[in-house]
Amino acid sequence: MIRVVLPAHLRTLARVSGEVQLDVAGEPTFLSVVDALEARYPMLRGTIRDQVTHERRPFVRFFACQEDYSLEPPETPLPNAVVKGDEPFLIVGAMAGG
């Protein structure tokens, strides 16, 4: 079970509070987690990554285990602690705007 923390605006949009828990088949990667997230919450499509290019939106960042994984290839496996559910996968709206 993968624990995902969404930024506040996306929690409101998805109508969830607190963490989201996802079952991800196979070896979970950042790509497969976002795929699973969008499948369960279709209203999030386009908010985390572009719907046409599938590129992560510039001001959305991925964190786990106190590390920034935003620039890792999407197929990168998730850290073990996230796979085991000990740590959440954080999707964060970047600090931007001054």
């Binding site: 605006h9 908010t47 985390i48 959305v60």
Partner: protein, 371 residues
Amino acid sequence: MSTVRLLVGTRKGAFVLTSDGKRETWNVSGPHFAGWELYHLKGSPADANRLYASQSSGWFGQLVQRSNDGGKTWEPVGNKFAYDGTPGTHKWYDGTQHPWEFKRVWHLEPSLNDPDTVYAGIEDAALFRTSDGGQNWEELPALRHTKGDLWQPGAGGMCLHTIVLDPQHKDRMYVAISAAGAFRSDDAGKTFRPINKGLKSPHELPDPDAEVGHCVHRIAIHKSRPDVLFMQKHWDVMRSDNGGDMWTEVSGNLPTDFGFPIDVHAHEPDTIYVVPIKSDSEHYPPDGKLRVYRSKSGGNEWEALTRGLPQSDCYVNVLRDAMAVDSLDKCGVYFGTTGGQVYGSSDSGENWKPIVRDLPAVLSVEAQTLP
């Protein structure tokens, strides 16, 4: 008694303002979609409780929201705006070619007779349509094939901000694009042609015969006389009496002919409203006086409407989609400012009152008159 509902889009959410036909007291609902930019909201002429909203954010991109109950509840619908085929390129600021890139939806124009059909004007400029209530959007690509490679963004981006559906000729529509110009389709969007003859932009576009490249800010018509178009251009207020085939300037005695919104009285096809702004580099009213100008003669002769509006130290702007009229008698006129005020007049502009004073910067105002 009738009800008036104002749909107000702001930099930080949407607000729904309602009043009875007297239009003296208003109920304020919102913010809806708090923290998001709401470029435009509009109701279906065929079903007043069917509303559409363009919701966007620099972080999380573009969403489209739909309401089936007049704005009490909303649901997100489709938000995939993929250009038709290989998008190609348009002209960039430095004159080179640049790929088309979707940025946001500026304007939503519901069909006049089908609540599930809506047109969307987007940046980078293109026209999209849904016929399933917003679930799926398809481009009408003929527009970008109308010299799109020559279109070049202005300072505000290359946005398709105006969509006017002709209520008498069912297949005719007009669209306008900042720094590209005005275009007309007579076959429901299968083909378009530029309609910019008579527009003059000597500083920005030295070629007087240029077919595209004029910076149109907004176009408005009266439903009883849709061949007559009124335009607020970057500079100049213009009029066409033949569906845009030829334009003539009607700026007349305006203190400045720069501005963004233009609208037409609900019952008087020759009564039009603009809000002059000092210049393209000083986006506020001349002399710090917020004045709506009204012409009852279809242009050229203008009178300042000031009663109830601030006449000193006012330096707000009124954006292109931030003016609307209701269809009561007397006609109500409304506009929102970048300072967060929404002003209303229940007597065709003679007297004004702030409905709300302290919203986030207002991006759009639409009025619905409900039975």
